[in-house]
């Protein structure tokens, strides 16, 4: 990996930030000691099994649990009747209905009931003995089917928001987002070249290796402890409380180690079920999903249909852009059509545009977040069309993007002006890299694409303690899914001026640290990092005060340098953290401070990528030869983990582009709920993903951090499709680009 410094800033000469310490959780993870959600064992624990709908769309006429309740080992059976009636805002009600069905089953895999018993086998047998009477309804499995006149409706009261005039009849379209600027007709009239096409993508799963798991233990006074691996245990607490009808404070949530999330573990599935079963049984209950359940019953990314049209002048200036986009939300409203609409043309200055994004319900699992939700799909269309225009105009694909690239002060298509950003730097980093000049052989192609993501700030809290021995504990509430404990340790080490090995970063439960929003949205290093830094600075101010007291001097005479309090005139020997900790009862008590914030100064992220691939023209098989990604990360706190985020997003994007898709049969049942036929890439499929971290520091963060986790997944879909076109001269607009699809395109040129 190379780090290209922004020439406008000087190197800050950090001692710890920017180094590659071994992650604190590493030893436990590689020796199998780390405790994930499914590893939790409690005395008297029962095992749960979920009964799921076999139908894609059905009214639930009746559920008879009487047989199941009598079976051997069974201690509790629950259905929707065991939960409060759905109430609150529409989104909350949808969540309640997704966790366990009420009136209808809305997708194959929808939770209908759950059983807790002494063994898994007993729970499963009992679940299968629950008698459910369904009235099967016709189902819709695509935006075309769902939006067709007369389509069967999932929700009889769903009226499309964002359409003027408001509709009088319900439909399967939950909402419409629209972004518009300039004069579209004028823009296309002015264009020398117009490119257009219809693009489709399929639902894909985040592909985390660890299935969902939760253990709940309710005591007779009603307080419940919940262990789960998630991207945010405070979020699990508040969402579970909504479904259970509780105050969040009744729940204590303890985070387990997590084996991947990528957005898919930012919501709840098993947690309220485990809690209610535990309440009814009076014993702890563990629920663990099988891989099959993860596919059928968690939250993939939306499938989409996008009609796009771009207009350019002969010199490559983009003058017009029009996108009609429909995103599958799954069974309940809430696809990222809005975000996809905002990001689609965000990297470019285009004066005339109209972007519409429709959120459409279909009888598939409710979608959940997946790295930069909404952006990869709309970028697939836009970046493919830019490539087509570049080829028609004979302009290099990077040059055409440079011609239109947004910079500081440009107005984004979604409204505000951009602050300091690093998009141009990523384009130039790719253009100037030797990979871009490597000559290609027969059946080989090169594809370029760029992408944008907002990144988030949100709420974080942190507490910092100095121990009697002068070592430091840093407690946050951000589950560690990408090496954030290491980053917190490095930032704290930099603040204190001590060896990072003396910092112990801990993820505290919901009673041990202040509120933390989820780990996701590329926010943790920025926001939780900012809270950690602020807490460290409070402690350091306190330490200076303790030294001042000991030396009986004014505070201004004390500075904190390299891990110790020093007298500015050198008239006292310095005091280390350990020295000051030893004397803390004489100078004011223990050394600890907390900080909490709703983070500001969020820096957005851009990525530009280039892929070289080779296609076997007789089988359509794709081999990825080389992949290079350049991303503006602001400042890489821990370069290996920044690199890992860049590479991870790219590999997921490649899988999305080449082979991953949810396949459903005519009955709306998923045909490939396992990794054999849901083809995420394996390690041997990938070359080393080369990364360039462009450090354009974010002025809003003490160390210049920009979130890095998400934007990397945005460009690969189009980069791969553009490379396929370069290799075999076939523009394919439907994902995935499986060997079957590519060979069909090669052999059937005119269809």
């Amino acid at each position: 990996m190379t780090i290209a410094e922004d020439p406008a800033t000087t190197s800050p000469g950090y001692k710890w930030v920017g180094t590659r310490m071994i992650r604190p959780d590493g030893f436990e993870k590689v020796t199998g000691r780390a405790r994930f959600g499914a590893d939790i064992k409690l005395n008297g624990m029962l095992y749960g099994h979920v009964l799921r709908s076999p139908h894609a769309h059905a009214t639930i006429v009746s559920i008879d649990t009487s047989e199941a309740e009598k079976m051997a080992g069974v201690r509790a059976v629950i259905t929707g009747a065991d939960f409060p009636d759905p109430s609150g805002p529409a989104g909350d009600q949808d969540l309640q209905r997704n966790v366990i069905a009420r009136e209808k089953a809305l997708y194959e895999g929808h939770t209908i009931a759950a059983v807790a018993a002494q063994t898994r086998a007993q729970a499963k047998a009992a679940a299968e003995a629950i008698k459910v009477v369904y009235e099967v309804l016709p189902h819709v499995m695509s935006v075309d089917e769902a939006m067709a006149p007369g389509a069967p409706l999932l929700h009889p009261k769903l009226m499309t928001k964002g359409v003027d005039p408001a509709p009088t009849e319900p439909s399967n379209v939950a909402s419409r987002a629209v972004y518009q600027g300039g004069d579209l007709d004028l823009g296309f009239a002015e264009s020398d070249v117009v490119v257009e096409g219809t693009f489709t993508t399929k639902p894909v799963h985040q592909g985390y290796i660890e299935p969902h798991a939760a253990v709940a233990d309710t005591t007779p006074n009603g307080r419940t402890t919940l262990w789960c691996s998630s991207q945010g245990h405070f979020t699990m607490r508040s969402l579970s409380a909504k479904v259970l009808g509780w105050e969040p404070s009744k729940l204590k949530v303890i985070p387990a180690e997590i084996g991947g999330g990528f957005g898919g573990k930012t919501t709840i599935y098993l947690e309220p079920l485990a809690v209610r079963l535990s309440q009814k049984a009076g014993r702890p209950v563990k629920l663990v999903m099988s891989r099959d359940e993860v596919f059928r019953a968690t939250g993939p990314a939306s499938g989409t249909k996008i009609v796009g049209k771009l207009g350019f002048k002969n010199d490559g200036t983009m003058v017009a852009g029009e996108l009609w986009m429909a995103y599958e939300a799954g069974a309940f409203a809430g696809s990222p059509a809005g975000a996809g609409s905002m990001t689609a043309l965000a990297p470019y200055t285009v004066p005339n545009f109209l972007i519409e994004g429709f959120d459409v319900v279909v009888n598939k699992p409710k979608v959940a977040a997946y790295r930069a939700p909404g952006a990869p799909m709309s970028s697939f269309a836009v970046e493919s069309l830019i490539d087509e225009a570049a080829k028609k105009l004979g302009i290099d694909p990077i040059d055409i993007r440079l011609k239109n690239a947004v910079t500081e002060g440009c107005t984004a298509t979604y409204g505000p002006k951009f602050p300091r950003i690093g998009f141009v730097e990523t384009l130039e980093a790719i253009k100037n890299h030797p990979n871009y000049q490597i000559p290609l052989g027969p059946n080989q192609g090169r594809g370029v694409a760029s992408g944008f993501w907002f990144n988030a700030g949100l709420n974080s809290s942190a507490t910092v303690h100095v121990n009697e021995d002068g070592n430091v504990i840093v407690v946050t509430g951000s589950p560690d899914i990408g090496g954030s404990r290491a980053s917190m340790a490095l930032m704290a080490a930099e603040e204190f001026g001590i060896d990072a090995a003396r910092i112990q970063p801990v993820v505290g439960d919901t009673e041990s640290v202040g509120y933390n929003d989820q780990t996701g949205g590329s926010r943790t290093t920025l926001a939780t990092g900012a809270a950690v830094i602020e807490a460290c600075r409070k402690v350091i101010a306190d330490l200076r005060g303790r030294a001042a007291k000991q030396w009986d001097v004014a505070l201004e005479k004390v500075e904190w340098v390299d891990g110790q309090a020093q007298h500015v005139e050198g008239t006292q020997p310095p005091l280390s953290l350990a020295d000051l900790a030893r004397g803390w009862n004489r100078t004011g008590g223990p050394l600890t401070a907390s900080a909490a914030l709703n983070a500001r100064g969020v820096g957005s992220a851009f990525s530009t990528q280039v892929v070289d691939l080779e296609i076997d023209p007789d089988t359509g098989h794709v081999t990825v030869l080389r992949y290079l990604t350049a991303q503006d990360a602001g400042r890489a706190i821990h370069p290996s983990y920044v690199e890992g985020q860049l590479q991870g997003g790219v590999v997921q994007g490649i899988g999305w582009a080449l082979n991953e898709e949810y396949i459903f049969d005519r009955n709306g049942k998923m045909e490939n709920p396992g990794f054999l036929d849901y083809r995420i890439p394996v390690a041997s499929d990938m070359p080393m993903i080369d990364t360039i971290v462009v450090e354009v520091p974010n002025p809003g963060h003490p160390y210049g951090v920009r979130g890095v986790g998400e934007v990397g997944i945005v460009p690969p879909l189009a980069a791969v499709a553009n490379a396929v076109d370069d290799a075999v001269s076939r523009r394919i607009r439907d994902l995935p680009l499986s060997p079957v699809r590519i060979l069909d395109a090669i052999l059937n040129k005119d269809s």
Partner: protein
């Protein structure tokens, strides 16, 4: 579910004669199937403690491979690799390195997946399955006579495959197996093609065997492709004819892994490529192999 680990073929036959018992060798299909919800058998009978089932022997004329021998012992056997590179590479494509420390030829054959990789490679080498019968004896059949459809075999209740016998090849014989999978590992063949040829001193094909996997409910032997290769020097015309014959012999389905059109086309492509590799390997084996 009970577990038994007999140490003789007779003991195993007695246990497997009971109803609802299943052979447990590498279990690289059995365990995932049970986890996926297939009905659990009453008993698993582990064959790996029976020496004959896990040994690899070679006489002057024949290789005898225990049906439960883990593939890693085949890929690690330099002599076997030298004589049957195609067979070993086929077994070596299944799953991954970890899977191959358990998977076996017997298991691959008797699981009877249409996409089994080692089956076309065994068929082109005229492999035979030695089957323990319920009455304590054995019977021997060509391997292609074992599977009859997806997941179904001609084995009677209580029968199991003890060994795979393969006669040592004549001089100037080479085999090859190729398959199409979207990923490089941990995948299942969309199409598989095995070809074996024997050449005379002038490089003319005197014998050929062609078998396809994953294009029909069971392995397909393509005698028309064999005829197209015999008497040729594996020139373009012969190869094209063999490829066309392979495509014509396919009876595939449209499923989540591939379309009829795709499988048909690629069967021809892989047959041609496998024939070329088999021919190169045959030409390199100039001396007698015994």
């Amino acid at each position: 579910m009970k577990y038994f680990a007999p140490s003789t073929v007779e003991e195993a036959a007695g246990l497997l004669a009971q109803p609802n018992t299943k052979v447990f060798a590498g279990a690289t299909d059995v365990i995932p199937q049970i986890r996926a919800g297939r009905p659990e058998p009453d008993a698993l009978v582990d064959l790996k403690k029976i020496d004959r089932l896990v040994s690899v022997q070679r006489t002057d004329a024949t290789w005898v491979i225990g049906a439960a021998t883990p593939t890693t012992r085949l890929t690690g056997n330099a002599e076997l690799v030298a004589e049957f590179p195609g067979l070993v590479e086929a077994a070596g494509l299944i799953g991954s390195d970890q899977v191959q420390s358990r998977s076996s030829l017997g298991g691959n054959l008797c699981n009877a997946s249409p996409a089994a990789d080692s089956v076309p490679a065994m068929v082109i080498n005229s492999a035979r399955a030695v089957i323990a019968t319920a009455n304590g004896g054995t019977r021997t059949v060509a391997v292609e006579d074992v599977p009859v459809g997806p997941g179904r075999t001609t084995l009677a209740p209580g029968e199991f495959v003890v060994e795979i016998e393969i006669d040592r090849p004549p001089a100037r014989t080479g085999d090859a197996y190729l398959r199409l999978t979207p990923r490089t590992e941990m995948d299942i063949a969309v199409v598989g093609a095995g070809v074996r040829v024997t050449l005379d001193e002038s490089g003319t094909v005197t014998d050929a065997r062609v078998a396809l996997g994953a294009v029909a409910p069971t392995v397909v032997r393509v005698t028309a492709a064999e005829a197209a290769l015999i008497g040729s020097k594996l020139d373009d015309v012969a190869l094209a004819a063999a490829a066309a014959a392979a495509s014509a012999a396919c009876n595939p389905i449209d499923d989540k892994r591939g379309t009829i059109a795709y499988r048909t086309h690629v069967a021809g492509v892989l047959t041609r490529r496998a024939a070329v590799i088999a021919g190169q390997r045959a030409a390199e084996k100039n001396g007698a192999s015994r």
